[in-house]
């Protein structure tokens, strides 16, 4: 009796959880847009354009994979991304004299350090993540400004593989794919990753079952910081330069990628893979809109509308989901 009930319920449940999984939905939409664009938009399905598209997405995607952990653990967003990217480009450009790989590792270490200090304040001191990261954003940008005095730092030395192609694929795209797979597997299979989702879903339940949220918040912020450092280093490698203005609109693009990728701002729902696909989708949309001939200004408006729609849809599906339980 019960066995039949379980077997009939299971496929339905799997179907529903697939619909509710933002990564699957965004992935399908992304694939659909890609196919439609390949058929209808001239110059889209060329190797050069696809390579440019992937390259434009890679850095946003790397940072979005990092940010998704903070969102999943229920600490909403970090608003310090743009500043951290800017400082990372400066660190990388300075350290380039010791070779590209040392510079890359050093930049990631600085990023992890910045991430860990924010994670400590948010996790152990239980401070508000938004306010904390706004404060850090100002401090990091201020330090970068004082350090460079507003000048562009030109790196001394070649960037080697960091800005090259491997079998016609940009190395940065390979890094993006590797990072996504690694972090996704770690989040999905690892104990730490599972606990991050548990804390985001129900923090009180996590505490009662003996999981102290603070170290996990710290871990999420450290991974986030290291990945933002990585993105910043790769950005600097593209031009061999570092500058406080290089962060630009990076911070918003990363947050948009996470939101569009189906990671719920309330925590616990979504995955790093979703954030990566979200980044791909936003980049794809920008690319198609540009090829169709829409100005950059219009693209920005479309992005804003997209975020609102994504947020509303996830909010509604969240409410429907919890209402049925």
């Amino acid at each position: 009796m019960t066995a039949t009930a379980v077997t009939t319920a299971e496929p339905q449940l799997a179907w529903r959880s697939m619909i509710r999984d933002g990564a699957v939905v965004v992935g399908l939409i992304t694939a659909a847009v890609f196919i439609v664009a390949a058929l209808l938009v001239p110059n889209f399905a060329t190797a050069a354009n696809v390579r440019a598209l992937l390259l434009s997405v890679a850095l946003t995607g790397i940072a979005a994979v990092g940010l998704s952990l903070i969102t999943i653990i229920g600490r909403i967003f970090a608003l310090s991304i743009a500043s951290m990217i800017a400082l990372s480009t400066i660190v990388f450009a300075h350290a380039l004299t010791w070779g590209p790989w040392v510079a890359l590792l050093l930049t990631m270490a600085v990023g992890a350090l910045l991430g860990s200090s924010q994670g400590y304040v948010v996790g152990f001191l239980k401070a508000d993540p938004i306010i904390t990261t706004i404060a850090f954003s100002a401090i990091v940008l201020g330090v970068g400004q004082q350090w460079t005095q507003g000048r562009t730092i030109v790196g001394q030395g070649g960037t080697g593989l960091l800005n090259a192609n491997v079998f016609n694929v940009p190395f940065q795209v390979l890094v993006f794919v590797a990072v996504t797979v690694l972090v996704w597997t770690w989040h999905r299979r690892g104990v730490t990753g599972r606990r991050i989702t548990l804390i985001g879903l129900n923090e009180r339940a996590a505490v009662i079952s003996g999981v102290n949220p603070a170290p996990y918040v710290l871990t999420s912020f450290v991974v986030f910081g290291a990945l933002v450092g990585l993105a910043g280093a790769l950005l600097a490698a593209q031009s061999g330069q570092g500058n406080v203005l290089l962060g630009g609109t990076f911070g918003f693009d990363v947050i948009i990628a996470v939101v569009v990728g189906g990671v719920a701002v309330t925590g616990g729902r979504g995955s790093p893979l979703g954030a990566a696909i979200g980044g791909l989708f936003v980049g794809l949309l920008g690319n198609v809109l540009a090829l169709v001939g829409l100005a950059y200004e219009t693209q920005l408006m479309v992005k804003g509308a997209l975020v609102l729609v994504a947020v509303v849809l996830i909010g509604i599906s969240d409410r429907l989901g919890s209402g049925r339980k």
Binding site: L125, A127, M301, G304, V307, V311, I316
Partner: protein, 341 residues
């Protein structure tokens, strides 16, 4: 209860004491700080900051946050400039206020009706507002042909005030009255304290929440429009330094991030403090990045001292082992989120 009550009053007092100390410090160390011209500049900076921070305070008292003001402020400035060349400056400011109300309405409706976290909603409207700004200007600096009205706005009144700052301070006073002496204000506090309980007490949670976001949007729009008109220029994008200042003013002024606690009087004191610090540091020759660095350090310091202070105040020794303190401990776990109602 009484201890925590006292604590939130102390926060207001703290903000004003710090402002007083900063004033004495700059008056003693920085030449020209007390000159009439500088006090006028200080008044201008203070009024617009107090206005935008007041709007943010209303939203924060409900346990929500509005990130979109960082984009609404520049957007309404350029809308006012753009429209004023075509329909006159007063229409320009009114249209800009309409834009602010519209964005506030979207924020409020999506947050209240769909119960989506306000941070997610306002980050969407923020990107939208940046896009609209770039769309209107084509990414270029907008300049007004007729800057006479802007000069009138900033004409000194009684030495240190101007028409602009008088309008802004009048709105701040109106919000002060609204929060302190009207049902709407009581409702705002009740929703911030506990939205479910407020709903159960038949408080119209959704309309009040929409009203709060409308007020916040209106404050940012009025501030942006007056600033744009006064400077006769506008540029699309975000004003992160301004959001930082407004958020710092509210948090330093003692507005609890979880909502329901704190006083607008504290926010105003903190706005005065921040305006003086920016002004004094600039007078002493620091650049804007250094001022922003100092602002960031202040905000971080407030965030860091908040948790220990609340703990000390809310847990008296005789309560340590009572049921009451346990309750407070568990609720604090929930309180570490902001913006989720």
């Amino acid at each position: 209860m009484t201890e925590t009550f006292l604590y939130w009053h102390l926060r207001t007092l703290l903000a004003w004491s710090l402002a007083l100390i900063a004033m004495v410090f700059f008056a003693a160390t920085t030449k020209g700080f007390l000159s009439l011209g500088n006090l006028f500049a200080l008044g201008q900076a203070f009024a617009v900051l107090a206005l935008v921070a007041s709007g943010l305070t209303v939203v924060m008292l409900m346990g929500q946050f509005d990130l979109s003001i960082t984009a609404v402020f520049p957007l309404t400035g350029l809308v006012a400039v753009k429209v004023s060349d075509w329909q006159g400056p007063v229409t320009g400011i009114l249209v800009a206020m309409g834009v602010g109300l519209a964005i506030g309405a979207v924020n409020g409706l999506l947050t209240a009706v769909f119960r989506i976290p306000s941070l997610a909603v306002t980050i969407g409207t923020m990107v939208l507002a940046i896009g609209v700004g770039h769309f209107i200007t084509g990414g270029e600096l907008v300049q007004a042909e007729n800057y006479q009205f802007g000069l009138t706005l900033t004409n000194p009144v009684a030495g240190i005030l101007s028409v602009q700052s008088l309008i802004e301070l009048a709105v701040v006073a109106a919000i002060l009255v609204m929060l302190g002496a009207t049902w709407l204000g009581r409702y705002v506090y009740a929703i911030g304290e506990n939205a479910e309980r407020a709903r159960a007490s038949a408080i119209p949670v959704r309309p009040v929440m929409v009203a709060g976001f409308l007020i916040c949007g209106l404050c940012a729009a009025l501030g942006g429009a007056l600033q744009g008109t006064a400077l006769a220029t506008g540029q699309a994008g975000t004003n992160d330094a301004f959001l930082l200042q407004a958020a710092t003013a509210a948090v330093l002024g003692g507005i609890a991030l979880t909502g329901g606690r704190g006083s607008l009087v504290g926010t105003i004191g903190a706005a005065l403090l921040l305006a003086m610090i920016s002004n004094g540091l600039s007078l002493a020759g620091a650049d804007s990045a250094a001022v922003q660095l100092v602002n960031g350090v202040i905000l971080l310091a407030v965030v860091l001292m908040h948790a220990p202070l609340t703990k000390v105040v809310s847990l008296r020794p005789q309560q340590w082992f009572s049921r009451n303190s346990k309750e407070q401990n568990t609720t604090r776990i929930e309180d570490s989120h902001v913006g989720i109602s």
